[in-house]
Amino acid sequence: MSSIPCSRATIALLFVAVLVAAVGPASALSLSSEGVPESSQVGEEIQVTYTIDDPFTDAPNEWTLQGETELEDVRWTVTVLRAGTQVSQETYTEQSFNHSLDVDDNGDEVVVNLDGTTPAIENYTYSPEETYRVTSLDQRTGGNVEELTNDSAHHYTGDSQEARNAIEDAETAIDEIGGHDEAETTLNRAITLYEAERFSDAVEAAEDAQEKAENAQQSQQTLTMALMGGGVLLVLALIGGGVYYWKSQQETVSRL
């Protein structure tokens, strides 16, 4: 097969895909959530609730609700209600589930409860901060998948959070003086240490960076004072230097 018909076929396929996407059901489902955390501690229990109102309005009569999470020790509860009264309920204990919905079941509301614990952190990154997937919910109709929601949250341990806070404090202190090379080098090391999971060392380095920044601020203030004293010092230094030079000429310091 020559390559030209092949690429024509590809173009044709692309057209079809675009048309389907344009015509296909842009999901008009309304979904609300409750309890999605911005951040949570590793091992902390999380409870979130998603509610889909009118699951068949502007939607096919049959579709599958798919859920996925990175929480651990999971319990999903999918409840279908009509006028606030429960029609059916199902629980799943895996990290993902598929739940079939049918208009004939007479539901006008679907509530998904998710209960699980915050997973361990695989890879520590200072920026962007570590995240895990709390929930993603998809609407699958045949081969077509629409995302309903995809929520993630930052997770941390006591030690990592302490180190992150110390680094943030150092960043603030450095910003306040409009940057400082030495402090920034130390700050970068704190971040490296953080990412190497050496949190107590990271705290130390961050505190060190903060101190450097604060000292620099102080010394900026004392600089004016110092300039005045500088004249006196210069005279002293000249005398001292002369003596030192004279002495250094007297003794042999053999390097070789």
Partner: protein
């Protein structure tokens, strides 16, 4: 060039201590920070220059401050377990002010032999500055276990550092000194050779600065690419002519001299370069095949010249077959001229092969002896017909 030095174990601590003393005495400016790490409390107490808060005692829970007794596997284990305590001391080092780390240790013992590859690996992971090792090989008369320790540590250390500079006690002991009295002398030799080399990149404000002065990046580039390195050295006394050290001649820029003088200077330099490269190296080896080299010519500037250094450099190129031979001067104010030659990426090192051979024999011996003593013990404890049963 400015270094943060970490002396691991007794030999490492003593050598770094000596570096500090040299640095302070000569004002060379090469040791920005010095840290000593040991499992033996007494060794740390014996140091003179390294500040007390830069001495780290590790493994207290396991060996109670008494050292690991030449068990380098234990040395490595302890270093790994107590890496946080070591890092605590390293945190005091202003890393942005240093050009590289130098981890120093005797490879024949336990603490330094096992710990120095561990700390090097750690430093490389955390910092971007190059991490060099300075490893001391044991004397041939120290016994099989030291040789075995050294051979195993050598393999590991080379892998974990950006370049391993080696000093072989064996080739420096031969001149008939006793071992104990010898170390002081040997350590001075170590410090002088590496001090001149690293000091070259650190020309102070008080020194004459010539255009061809060696700088830190040339040292770093010569060491880059890794492997094993050795250093040769030779020096000769010269006269500091009349006012040459004085202020006046500096202001006059009086460098002139007769053609005779120039020829003498050039010849002296080329002859020193030969002596350095062909004489006793810190690790004896075949210099042909060295991948990179650096020639540092040190001395008063009126006794250094471009032509001599260029000739010396060319000669090194011919001898090593390397296309990467750097050279430059290191102006000092003392009545001596010295050539230091760094040969990096050396391959043909019979001493290492010999060390490995002896180590393998020692290892086999140790296994045999252990097996035999197990057998002997069993024969003693068990009754002949196996009629008795142990309690539990």
């Amino acid at each position: 060039m400015k270094l943060a030095m970490i002396g691991f174990g007794q030999a490492g601590g003593k050598i770094v201590d000596k570096f500090l003393e040299y640095d302070q005495r000569t004002n060379s400016g090469i040791v920005r920070s010095a840290v000593a790490v040991n499992t033996a409390k007494a060794d740390l107490l014996g140091l003179e220059q390294i500040p007390e808060e830069h001495r780290v005692l590790i493994g207290q829970a396991r060996v109670k401050g008494h050292g690991v007794g030449a068990d380098n596997e234990l040395g490595a284990e302890i270093a790994e377990e107590d890496i946080d305590e070591i890092q605590g001391a390293i945190d005091n080092i202003p890393v942005h002010e240093i050009d590289a780390f130098l981890v120093v240790s005797g490879l024949g013992g336990g603490t330094g032999s096992g710990g120095s590859p561990v700390i090097s690996k750690h430093l490389k992971r955390i910092y971007t500055e190059p991490v060099y090792g300075l490893g001391v090989l044991p004397g041939g008369d120290e016994g099989g276990i030291y040789t075995l320790n050294a051979a195993r540590s050598f393999q590991t250390f080379v892998r974990e550092v950006d370049n391993l500079l080696v000093f072989d006690n064996d080739s420096w002991r031969k001149t008939g000194e006793s071992v104990q009295g010898g170390y002081d002398h040997i350590n001075e030799e170590i410090v002088r050779r590496f001090g001149v080399l690293f000091g070259a990149g650190e020309v102070g404000a008080g020194d004459n600065v010539a255009e061809s002065v060696v700088d830190s990046s040339e040292i770093i580039n010569t060491l880059a690419g890794g492997g094993v390195s050795t250093v040769g050295y030779a020096s000769e006394d010269v006269e500091l002519s009349g006012s040459s050290g004085g202020l006046l001649s500096r202001f006059k820029g009086d460098e002139g001299g007769s053609d005779m003088d120039t020829a003498n200077t050039t010849n002296r330099i080329t002859s020193l370069v030969r002596k350095a490269a062909l004489g006793r190296l810190t690790l004896p080896c075949e210099i042909e095949g060295a991948e990179r080299a650096l020639l540092v010519m040190a001395g008063p500037s009126q006794h250094l010249n471009r032509k001599g250094i260029e000739r010396g450099r060319k000669w090194l190129e011919e001898q090593t077959g390397s296309m990467e031979v750097r050279g430059g001067d290191y102006p000092t104010n003392e009545p001596r001229v010295a050539a230091a030659v760094l040969l990096s990426g050396i391959h043909n090192v019979p001493r290492i092969k010999e060390l490995q051979q002896i180590a393998i024999e020692a290892q086999d011996n140790i296994d045999d002896i252990r097996q035999q003593s197990e057998d002997n013990l069993e024969q003693l404890v068990e009754d002949d017909e196996d009629e008795l049963d142990p309690l539990f």
